[in-house]
Every structure is written in structure tokens, then in C-alpha cells.
Subunit: 345 residues, 2 copies
DNA sequence: GAGTGTAATGTAAGCGCTTACATTTTGAAT
DNA sequence: ATTCAAAATGTAAGCGCTTACATTACACTC
């Protein structure tokens, strides 16, 4: 039996219980919690004592049902398995926390259909706003989002012409810079290990950036070997093995991200190749993993934290002030470490 | 104006709208969604058409307020920064998804006070059950959990005598086995890099395991050097540097986890030491990172996925069937790789 | 065709909050 | 003392669902 006895195990106090206990109305208790400056110190103390006595904590569902506001932001990232998004999302989390909001994170395993599902789930949960990775997504999900009037910020990409404001970096330009570095060292037989391009605009942009650099250098990129695979170390290794056995074998392998690059590096080394003497390898993202291998990975540094903070700030502003929001372009830079050198011959 | 026009941008349909559109009561619509077998095919089709037409999706807050059930499990892990918990949590997520539940993950940054806060937040959000890491926690949080009647499963630890059922491994025994391996190779000057033991029962158990092994080998462990630090690569490196400069310098460094061990390995190498010839280093957890260094890390393998699956399954059973739940002990094993060898002299 | 049991549907009372609006209290100005 | 605006508090109507219970429809049986 759900008796009114305070602290009886199994009894969960409600706002009304607190009100009764303190001898005030429920409205006053609610105000004590949400807008304490609106209630007199004396009353407030009385109420807070009751809150403590009963061990009251508000019911989130009831709160957001009544207030039509959850103070929650949803983020859907492609993966939690490796730390590609970890640092950035951590920054988002901290920045939102500072503003009194909570971040709910879901992952889509790089599957558009699953992402759409997660978006709907997060919206049903009442997310006040959404942080999404990249512009491209399934079907008419943007239409759904517009109908539900949920503010959205796109990150890890930058495209002022996108359907939603984006705060991120130019994947194509970033990778173009890296490819230019590779070409500058004299490499001509280049291969690429990338994520599946079909449903990943960032992967596509990065490959396009490589082609840009080749074109600029007056090279033919029509039969640039591009090996598409999942973002895991093992698959990076497998991709390299298959690439190396092709002829003519590449002297440099440009990878779509650090995880792939580390896989490639490990595979090359276990095949007896010296990196970078026999083969150059480059990554993208500059995550922790890239500093741990020997040699450490030459990669594209991404301002994860800064990006997270700015995206969070903008999204929250869009939510609270009902403003549209702008796109913002952040800079990346090539981090030259140990895996890029001139070709052997 | 929130008109009733279907699909007008900004209009979010409710159950009642669907009911009106389909010419049935709200109860019927609700049943169509939750227990479709209870409504006649003809009516169901009519209702589902209305759902599609209006683009209806249920309001989660209202749903859980009314049903007193959220189908949500909360998990609080110490960190998302590295992938120590990633694989296990991923498995929890998948297993819960299979059962129709959602996992909400929060991280505490290894701070007990923050963990307590997150627990309260998750409970306020209506989490039907909680997955927690390790047994030890702040203040009277268990009392709170009991009062709220929230089922809890502890993981990444095993202690049948704990306040809550635990599904995990015996940290002490696992580390004892590793330490025994180290001692068996002839090491006598051993040092430890650990997480702060004060508020981390797993770290404490692991250090205790080392002492157990020493005692068993007839060694004095009273002045075993234990360096406590945060779980980051950098701090692992710093710890090693400081340990090495002490005299007599250790011939083997046992680390509380892989992140620390990788940091130590990198630092040792950059100080010009060869591993394992000049110094042996061991880790704990067997995360991806430990296979990537050269040499690869000798570490304690933990059955992450299995642990996640079993913990999820049990927790969900406790939630749905209101049963108490048992503890379960999983096995770990030492993975001998490249960083453990005999001492030089 | 009346009677009966079961399946399908409807009615309406909450779930625990927030908040517009109404009412009371307070305290400064007269 | 009296007045009155401002501040504090109270009242009560929802928010969008679920579900116990009541009602109706339907398919049988005799």
C-alpha cells in the first residue's frame, strides 16, 4: 500500500505530498524549484525542508508533459565504438551542462535507417533540439523535423548551403590539403581506404578532396583505387592487404580516418613493410589512437572540442531564443608525424 | 494557431487527433499501438491509416507518465573518453534493444558525487532499471534507489556479498593471476600505476590482487610503490617517468588498466628504454588500444561483450518480472603479448 | 427469437507536474 | 489609520497518454 508515511520504502513522494507537508499549495512548491526568486525566503525554507524530509525528486515525465520543454538535447553519432566522436561529444555535453541542459546520445552504426529511427525516438522523448553528424540522411526525415519544429545543428561537416546550419570543417578542403602533402613528396601511385561513400557525405567529400589535389597537380584520377570498408582497425588491415597485392602496388595509402589508417599501418608492418620507407600511410581526425602507434600517424587534425562547444552553444541558443542559426567553418590542419615520407623509388 | 489541419507545419498531432480522424475513441488508438491484437483488423487498419496520414508519433512523456513505465534502462559509466567500457556497453545496448528497451548512458568522470547526481537524474527520467559500475558509491544512494524501487545491477565487478547483484569478474583474482605471471618471470622490483583507490573499489581490488600474489610468492609487499593517477595516456606516461627515476628503479610496472599501460609504454620508449628487455609493462582490460602499440601489450582479457549481454538480460528480467536477481562471476585470462619478459639482471 | 458468453470498443479518471489567472498579503505612501 | 500597487500565494485547468470499468456488438446455442 502506497501510504503517505514519509520515507517508507516504496513510497515515492510527489509535488502534492511536499505541498501538504509544508502547508502550501503545489504551485508554490513548483515555484520553489523552478523560480525560487519568486517565493519568499521563509516559505522557501519551509518547502525545501519538506523536500529534504520526504526525499522528493521531481518526475521528469510529468514535468516535461506539463511544461512542453525537456531541457534535453539529442545527439546521434555514427559510432561509439572508437573515440572518433568522443572528444567532441564530451565538449558538447559539458557546454550544455553549463547551460542547464542534458545531452542524450544515441549511435546509428553508420546506418541511415537506424539513424532515422533514433531521430524519431529522440524527438518522441521530447528532445528540444538535435545535433546530427553530416548533412545527408534518410528519406523525408528533415520534413519530419520541420513539422515537429525541432531545431537541428549539423556538425563534423560544413556546408552553408545545407538544409540545416552546420558547424564544422570542410572535409573536402581538409583532405585536399593532406593529399597535396602526399603528392608533394613525390608519390604518384596512391590508393585510398575510405568508408562507404554512398550514404556518407563526409567520406565522399574526403575522397573528392583527394581527387581535387590530384587534378591540381595535373594527375589523372579517373582510376584512383578506392577501397570502401567499415571503420574498424581489422577492416583497415584487410583493406591494406588487398590493396598491396594489387599491381602496381601503391606507394602511399590515404585513409578516410585514423582507425582505418592504424589498421593499415599494422597490416603493412606485419607484412614486413617499413613505414614510411616502403609505404606511406595517412589518417584523418587525429584521435588518441594516432599518437600511440610507432611511428605515430600523420593525420589531419580536427578541432574536436572547439567544434563541440560551438555547436552546443549555437544549438542551445536556437532552442531557447527560437532563432534560426548560422553555419560556421572551422579550420583543420595537417599533423606531420611519422607515417608519411617520400616514396622508395 | 495550432489548427487541426493535417501536416500543416508546426502542428503536432496527438492521440486524440488520430482518434478523431479515424472515428474511434482514444482508447482504441492506444490499443492499436500497444496491443494491436486486441483490436479488430478493420478498425486497426483505419487507425493506422490515420496515424500515417497525420504523421503521428506518441509523446513519450505522456506515455510514461500514464503507464508508469519507460522501457528505459540507465547506465552510468565512469568515462566515455576511452573505450574501456565501449564494447561492453554496446553489448548491453544491443541486448536491451532486442527486448524492446532503450539504454540511456551517462558518464561520471570517475567522480562519485557526479555519479550520484547522474543516478538521480536517470531515476527522475523514469529509468526502469540501472546498470552501475562497481559496488562502491556515494553516501546513501542505495537507500534512495531502494526507496524508488529501482532495480540495479552492478557490473565490471563481482561480489556476491555486495549490496546489489553483480555480473562481472573478480578484479582481485584477475590481477593476482597477472602479478603471478610477472613474478614467475623473476621480477622482484615491481611498481604499480593505478587509478585513485579511495573511491574506486575495482582499482583497490586490483592492487590487492598484486599484493596477494607477492605474499603467495613469499615477498614483502609493505613498500610496494603504488602511483595513483587518472586514467589517461598522458598521466600514465607521467607516472612512469616519475617511477623510473626512483631508486631502485622497478624492472616491471603493473598498470591498473590499458590506457595507463600504453602511456607507460610510450614514456618508457621515449626515455630510450626497450620494452620488455629493459622494462616489463602490463595492462588490464584488453581494449583495442592494447593491440596497436609495438610491442603489443600483455594484459588481462575481460569478456566485455558477454558481460554486457548477461548484465542486460538479468537487469531486464528484474525489471519486467520483479525478481531479485543473482550475481554471476565471469572469467578473465592473461593475454601474453609483447610487453612482459624476464628482467635484465 | 430469446438468452448467453465473449470479443471489441467506448468512457472517463487519473498520472505528476506547470502556469494563467484569481486572490490574499505586504509594506510604503499618504 | 487608510489606500493601493506590487509581491506572494493559491486555485484549477490542462499537458497527452493508459487503463479499469462499462457498454455494445456479435456469434452461438437451444
Amino acid at each position: 500500500m502506497r501510504s503517505k508515511a514519509p520515507n517508507a520504502s516504496g513510497f515515492v513522494p510527489t509535488l502534492a505530498d511536499v505541498a501538504g507537508h509544508a502547508g502550501v499549495s503545489t504551485a508554490t512548491v513548483s515555484r520553489c524549484i523552478n523560480t525560487p526568486e519568486q517565493v519568499q525566503k521563509k516559505t522557501r525554507d519551509k518547502v525545501l525542508r519538506a523536500v529534504t524530509d520526504l526525499g522528493y525528486s521531481p518526475n521528469f515525465s510529468a514535468q516535461s508533459l506539463a511544461a512542453k520543454r525537456t531541457n534535453t538535447i539529442g545527439a546521434i553519432i555514427p559510432t561509439m565504438d572508437n573515440s572518433i566522436f568522443a572528444r567532441g561529444i564530451q565538449a558538447v555535453q559539458e557546454e550544455l551542462g553549463r547551460a542547464g541542459a542534458t545531452l542524450l546520445v544515441a549511435s546509428s552504426s553508420y546506418r541511415p535507417a537506424l539513424e532515422a529511427e533514433q531521430i524519431r525516438a529522440l524527438v518522441a522523448r521530447g528532445a528540444d533540439g538535435l545535433l546530427l553528424i553530416g548533412h545527408q540522411r534518410d528519406g523525408n526525415i528533415y520534413e519530419f523535423l520541420d513539422r515537429q519544429q525541432v531545431p537541428v545543428v549539423v556538425s563534423w561537416a560544413y556546408d552553408p548551403a545545407g538544409a540545416k546550419p552546420s558547424i564544422g570543417f570542410d572535409n573536402r578542403a581538409a583532405m585536399r590539403t593532406m593529399a597535396t602533402e602526399v603528392l608533394a613528396r613525390g608519390h604518384r601511385r596512391i590508393a585510398v581506404i575510405s568508408a562507404r561513400q554512398a550514404d556518407n557525405d563526409r567520406a565522399r567529400a574526403r575522397v573528392a578532396g583527394i581527387r581535387d589535389a590530384m587534378e591540381e597537380a595535373g594527375l589523372d584520377h579517373t582510376n584512383l583505387p578506392v577501397f570502401e570498408t567499415n571503420y574498424t582497425i581489422e577492416e583497415g588491415s584487410a583493406a591494406l592487404a588487398s590493396l598491396i597485392s594489387s599491381s602496381p602496388a601503391p606507394t602511399a595509402v590515404i585513409c578516410g580516418n585514423d582507425v582505418l589508417a592504424v589498421g593499415a599501418l599494422l597490416a603493412a608492418q606485419s607484412l614486413g613493410m617499413r613505414v614510411p620507407q616502403d609505404l606511406s600511410i595517412t589518417g584523418f581526425d587525429d584521435i588518441e589512437l594516432s599518437t600511440v602507434t610507432s611511428p605515430a600517424l600523420t593525420t589531419v587534425h580536427v578541432p574536436h572540442r572547439k567544434m563541440g562547444v560551438l555547436a552546443a552553444r549555437q544549438l542551445w541558443q536556437m532552442v531557447t531564443e527560437q532563432v534560426p542559426g548560422d553555419s560556421l567553418r572551422l579550420d583543420t590542419e595537417v599533423r606531420l608525424r611519422g607515417t608519411l615520407g617520400p616514396p622508395a623509388n
